[in-house]
């Protein structure tokens, strides 16, 4: 059943996840403007903030929030989507003070802007490197959310989906997919050594 804090908000997308396959119990997508409200409800329900991390997807700049509960464990992964050219997210440092550092770190690595973060200066990168964001992907290398959140059995238990929200719709498993899925399983275990990764050489 949906944890209380998430039920009281109309999330864009909420699905139950299989913990054994993805490690989190719930996957949700929040609208940008009600991030602080959800955070307040989660804190009231006793959830603690695990981390905030950025993800540079093709559809846009994604901020992933992970929450977990001490006594009734069940990880909640909440994503928030913002356009690439204006990755602005409301800060939740007023509610979760621990988030101030997570937000500053995501700013260093991805260049996201968290409005009214109390001390919005670089955290890990030197201050004169403020505009270099190492984890920002070049345009071509960005993968879509669909591939990143792929995996069979995903999206089978969607609890709520706002109309017009089609980002995470798994394509109906047509025959082609099954064919593609089957060999993918076969190929992947014995990864032949021919496709030599140029790996760390060009780091």
């Amino acid at each position: 059943m949906i944890p209380a804090p998430l039920a009281s908000f109309d999330l864009l997308y909420l699905a139950r996840e299989d913990h054994a396959r993805t490690g989190s119990a719930w996957l949700g997508v929040m609208a940008l403007q009600d991030i602080p409200a959800i955070a307040k409800a989660l804190l009231a329900a006793g959830y603690h903030l695990e981390d905030i991390s950025g993800l540079d997807a093709a559809e846009g700049a994604v901020a992933a929030y992970h929450f977990d509960h001490f006594t009734t464990p069940g990880r909640i992964t909440l994503l928030a989507l913002a356009p690439h050219d204006a990755p602005v997210f409301p800060s939740i440092a007023a509610i979760y003070q621990g988030a101030e550092w997570h937000e500053r770190e995501t700013r260093d690595f991805f260049g996201y802007v968290f409005t009214d973060n109390p001390n919005f200066i670089p955290l890990l990168l030197p201050d004169d490197m403020a505009d270099i964001h190492p984890l920002k992907k070049p345009e071509a290398a960005r993968a879509s959310l669909l591939t990143l959140f792929a995996g069979e059995g995903r999206g089978s238990e969607v609890q709520r989906k706002a109309e017009g929200f089609t980002l995470l719709d798994q394509p109906a498993p047509t025959a082609a997919d099954d064919a593609k899925a089957a060999p993918a399983e076969a190929k992947q275990p014995e990864a032949k050594a021919d496709d030599q990764p140029d790996g760390g050489k060009d780091a």
Binding site: A193, Q196, P197, D198, G199, G200, K201
Partner: protein, 229 residues
């Protein structure tokens, strides 16, 4: 009132704990010492046996001086930090008339077998300063020609000390192994002699430091490896 008593008891326990603390340190004051005095003493053999130090080549069973390596460069690309650089051997030089004979044969269309280059590598440079001992090269090697050495006491005064030439090192190790064998063989022959030739005790320090890349033989190799890094 009972707060006072509690404080009193705490005080007594506190003072008693101070005494106990002194007793513990006194016990260790008179106890035996357990530190290994490094330059004079060395960690016992069985402790350093399982240690994984820098990598080294594995000699072929029949000829321990040449490595099993077939210079397929798999380890070079497997290494995340690019520590290994290998150069293949060139095919043997053909004298001019052999060259002419082969050229005509190819002109006539049949396929003469040109002498092929030997498979084991010409130089095998290994830069230990970048190595993170992740064993990706060992997993990548199809002929299991790389293994970890257990060199515990590595010291060098400059970066160059850690640019190893594993081929030269393999030759030296093979030579030593043969020398030890001969000594043992000669010792068993005149089995009357009391002292064992190879004194088993702790290895002396000079042997522990692996053979550095000697400048003479690898002047060209050095230049190439600089370029490769």
């Amino acid at each position: 009132m009972e707060r006072l008593i509690k404080q009193g008891i705490d005080l007594i326990k506190g003072i008693w704990s101070l005494g106990v603390g002194l007793a513990v340190t006194a016990w260790y004051l008179v106890n035996r010492k357990i530190t290994v005095q490094y330059p004079k003493q060395v960690v016992p053999r069985e402790a350093s046996e399982s240690f994984r130090g820098p990598i080294e080549l594995v000699g072929q069973p029949k000829d321990p001086a040449t490595p099993k390596c077939i210079s397929c460069m798999m380890c070079v690309s497997a290494c995340p930090s690019g520590c290994i650089s290998i150069t293949k051997q060139k095919p043997p030089k053909l004298s001019p008339e052999e060259e002419k004979a082969f050229a005509e044969a190819e002109a006539r269309g049949e396929k003469p077998k040109r002498p092929v280059a030997p498979r084991n590598p010409a130089t095998w440079r290994y830069n230990y300063t970048y190595c993170s001992l992740c064993a990706c090269c060992i997993e990548a090697c199809p002929v299991n020609s790389i293994k970890f050495s257990n060199e515990l006491y590595l010291a060098g005064t400059s970066r160059g000390d850690f640019h190893y030439d594993l081929l030269a090192r393999l030759k030296r190790k093979a030579a030593e192994a043969k020398a030890a064998e001969d000594a043992k063989a000669s010792e068993t022959k005149d089995s009357g002699s009391a002292d064992a030739a190879a004194q088993p005790g702790s290895p002396n320090i000079s042997q522990a430091v692996p053979e550095k890349a000697d400048e003479a033989s690898s002047a060209s190799g050095q230049a190439k490896s600089e370029a490769a890094l």
